[in-house]
């Protein structure tokens, strides 16, 4: 106790999570990135309230109109309102990004815990992961998508599979260090069942790095989804998504560049926000994570 300063010793013990949050909020990357992400999320949730019209309504009399009071961002090739499509497009991107991140982490954690803890599984699992990682992410995703008809589900599966090995590698590396810690040895020696050791004693150490990796996966999934849609192999064309809008707009790029630039701007801003948030979290949560990635 002599090491503690008098004021500190008198304070209520604060939870470490509270400390982390207050530290994270003071980080400029977290602040800027978080604000951008929050704005985009609110835009996606409140889409119907933001002066939008039906984003898929076709109006042949209003084709390729310039921005005006009626249509803030103008209209596209089919007379659809570009502003409404951009706002609703945020929903597609966020749904894809979040679902891919959550699914990839779920499977990655399961496989990584097993590979890291049970030595017998390690070699086989890691060779398979090495092999999967040798196939460039984007190619694997387009190959998977092209097998089946375009749908939100297929795109999510196709984007998730190439991300799983990254999660597995990270979780495994954490498990390998943590499993030698005295408190894990202690748990083993008092006969704690293995699943409980994995969940209660080992998994908590993976949360901080996974939060950071998760934000990067989310950003990369949004980018890859847009690239897939851009190539015509992503989300079905009737869904308003930024990638689809850019893809449709590129035929008329020389006439109406805004059809490409407006959705691009929101796409880049969203990814920028998530990346900044991830960078900030990485710096506040644990500087050592940076090296593992």
């Amino acid at each position: 106790m002599t090491l503690l300063s008098p004021q500190l010793a008198g304070d209520e013990p604060r939870s470490p999570i509270f400390d982390l949050i207050s530290q994270a909020v003071r980080n400029p990357s977290v602040m800027i990135g978080g604000s951008i992400v929050a704005a985009i999320v609110i835009m996606a949730l409140a889409a119907p309230l933001l002066g939008t019209v039906d984003p898929v309504r076709i109006d042949p009399g209003m084709r390729l109109k310039l921005p005006s009071d009626l249509a803030w961002f103008g209209t596209d090739l089919f007379g659809r309102d570009v502003y409404s499509r951009v706002v609703y497009g945020a929903r597609s991107s966020l749904i894809v990004g979040l679902t891919v991140a959550v699914t990839a982490i779920t499977f990655g954690v399961l496989i990584g815990l097993v590979a890291g803890y049970f030595r017998s599984m390690d070699i086989v699992v890691m060779r398979v992961m090495d092999g999967l990682m040798a196939i460039p992410t984007f190619l694997l995703a387009i190959a998977l998508v092209s097998l089946t008809r375009a749908s939100v589900g297929t795109v999510i599966v196709a984007l998730t599979i190439p991300e799983i090995p990254r999660v597995v590698r990270l979780v495994r590396s954490v498990v390998l260090t943590v499993r030698e810690e005295p408190y894990v040895e202690a748990a083993i020696s008092i006969g704690t069942p293995t699943p409980l050791i994995l969940v209660r004693h080992i998994m908590p150490s993976t949360i901080a790095p996974l939060l950071v990796l998760g934000s990067y996966i989310c950003a990369s999934a949004i980018l890859v989804e847009a690239a897939l849609s851009f190539l015509g192999t992503g989300l079905p064309p009737e869904i308003p998504s930024w990638g689809n809008m850019i893809s449709e707009g590129r035929t008329f790029f020389q006439v109406a560049p805004r059809l490409v630039f407006l959705p691009s701007l929101f796409l880049a801003l969203t990814v920028l926000g998530i990346n900044l948030l991830g960078d900030g979290l990485r710096d506040t949560l644990d500087p050592r994570i940076a090296k593992r990635m």
Partner: protein, 313 residues
């Protein structure tokens, strides 16, 4: 040294086996009948049967794999369903634009990123360092195809300096070649450059705190030499690693950039194959790109051992 090279080379085999199995299974494990996937919904029974026989889909899975693997190892990647030409021939026809683009991009990205990253790392906290880091986050976030359109808009449509799209072979003159490849190179190279610059900065910065840097300074070595000879040299391994890993970024980028700039390369080939469901072509290109990626990283690993004796042990 030889033992290290042999060990590292042998480690490529399991990786490539897994890659082949995945590529092979992609089509076979897809929901529904692969022949139907390839032929589309409107195919008649005769066409389906023809595809099944052509791909050997009427054989057991293990037999199919062994036949396919044997063919692949002997350099036969199958026949395109759409054009009826051998896949290897189709790929060879398209190698030049893709290889030119990849090489100019690597050259451009490395020659810009390493000096910038080194200066930023050596002067961490300076305005140059901060600007570079800020630009690098943006560089990661702007999708390559968006950047490509911005470039076309600015340099081709507004200023009219460069051709809008297309590819001119180097055999038709160096200047037309450079003009046609300049925008795709910068577009494709940005993310790669940012990645290399960030790692260069981080590893140079880490080296700057080491004892041997203080020793070098203490004995009066000029600061410029301390940075290039002592810090950068010792930071070389992570930089080389990321140059190798970043090749995956280039491969993914090539597919998109060749579409944006209408370059008739392997990336365009695979996108067309995917839109037409020409499966042997897709498999062939994925195998080729993965093999290139694995081999480049093998070469880099062996490169370390030459550079740095510590790695060999």
């Amino acid at each position: 040294m030889l033992a290290f090279v042999a060990k590292r080379t042998l480690a490529v085999i399991p990786v490539m086996v897994v890659v082949s199995v995945v590529v092979f299974l992609l089509l076979r494990l897809s929901p529904g009948d692969p022949a139907l996937v390839i032929a589309g919904d409107n195919a008649d029974a005769e066409a389906l049967q023809r595809i099944r026989t052509a791909l050997g889909l009427d054989q057991p899975l293990a037999t199919q794999f062994i036949i396919w693997m044997g063919n692949t190892l002997s350099g036969d990647l199958g026949t395109s369903i759409f054009t009826n030409l051998p896949v290897t021939e189709l790929i060879l026809q398209r190698v030049e634009p893709t290889l030119s683009l990849a090489l100019t991009t690597m050259l451009f990205a490395i020659s810009v990123a390493v000096p910038l990253g080194t200066v930023a790392g050596a002067t961490a906290g300076s305005w140059l360092d901060r600007t570079l880091m800020a630009v690098s986050v943006v560089g990661f976030s702007v999708p390559a195809f968006v950047l490509g359109y911005c470039m076309i808009y600015l340099f081709s449509l507004k200023f009219g300096w460069l051709p809008v799209q297309g590819f001119t072979s180097i055999s038709e003159g160096v200047l037309p070649f450079l003009r046609s490849i300049a925008l795709p190179t910068v577009t494709l190279g940005l993310a790669y450059m940012v990645l290399i610059a960030r790692i260069t900065r981080a590893s140079v910065l880490e080296m700057m705190g080491e004892d041997f840097i203080r020793t070098a300074r203490a004995k009066g070595v000029a600061e410029r030499l301390v940075i290039t000879h002592h810090a950068l040299r010792n930071a070389a391994i992570p930089i080389l690693t990321v140059i190798g890993i970043g090749v995956a970024l280039l491969i993914s980028g090539v597919v998109v950039i060749e579409t944006v700039f209408n370059i008739p390369g392997i990336g365009r080939l695979v996108v067309d194959a995917i839109l037409k469901r020409d499966y042997p072509v897709i498999q062939g290109v994925i195998l080729l790109f993965s093999a290139v990626y694995v081999l480049i990283n093998l070469a880099i690993d062996i490169g370390y051992a030459l550079l740095d004796p510590r790695v060999r042990y």
